[in-house]
Point group: C2
Chain length 88, copies 2
């Protein structure tokens, strides 16, 4: 499933045209991103929750040279499925 599938779904279930449906999807995505950027937790009961936490992992790996690499720490988004998605 890709973004366009969601747009088509809205188009089908509502009375909006493609452009309008797309703008709705974009609005939602922008809203979600903005919330996460602000370190806000997102909780959609019955679907899932997203939480921003700080990363502690401080290394990675270079495949070609086969050795470790130091990595700058940052943030991480923790995804947790809700009840409806727990036992799929």
């Amino acid at each position: 499933m890709i973004k366009n599938d969601i747009v088509l779904e809205i188009e089908k279930k509502s009375e909006f045209n493609r452009a309008k449906s797309l703008s709705i999807v974009e609005t939602i995505l922008a809203s979600l991103k903005e919330s996460l950027v602000k370190n806000e937790k997102i909780e959609i009961r019955g679907f899932a929750s997203f939480k921003v936490v700080s990363k502690k992992t401080g290394y990675g790996r270079d495949i070609r040279r086969k050795k470790q690499i130091k990595i700058k720490k940052g943030k991480r988004i923790k995804f947790k499925p809700g009840q409806d998605l727990k036992n799929i």
Copy 2:
């Protein structure tokens, strides 16, 4: 951020009332859930991707009795942030 915040955002950016905005959000959520239930991958470029994988963890822990518990295996939803959310 909770579901209602998204509804309000749609209400603000469009010309729809609360009920209409809510139904749009529900439509999208149902569509996403249905996709995951069918083991389909979801990929929204610039936002994130969701993939269903099989669980291999086969144990847990009883806090009160402080001992291990056998767990039935199942599925798991893997969440991967897209480029816009990689360095938030």
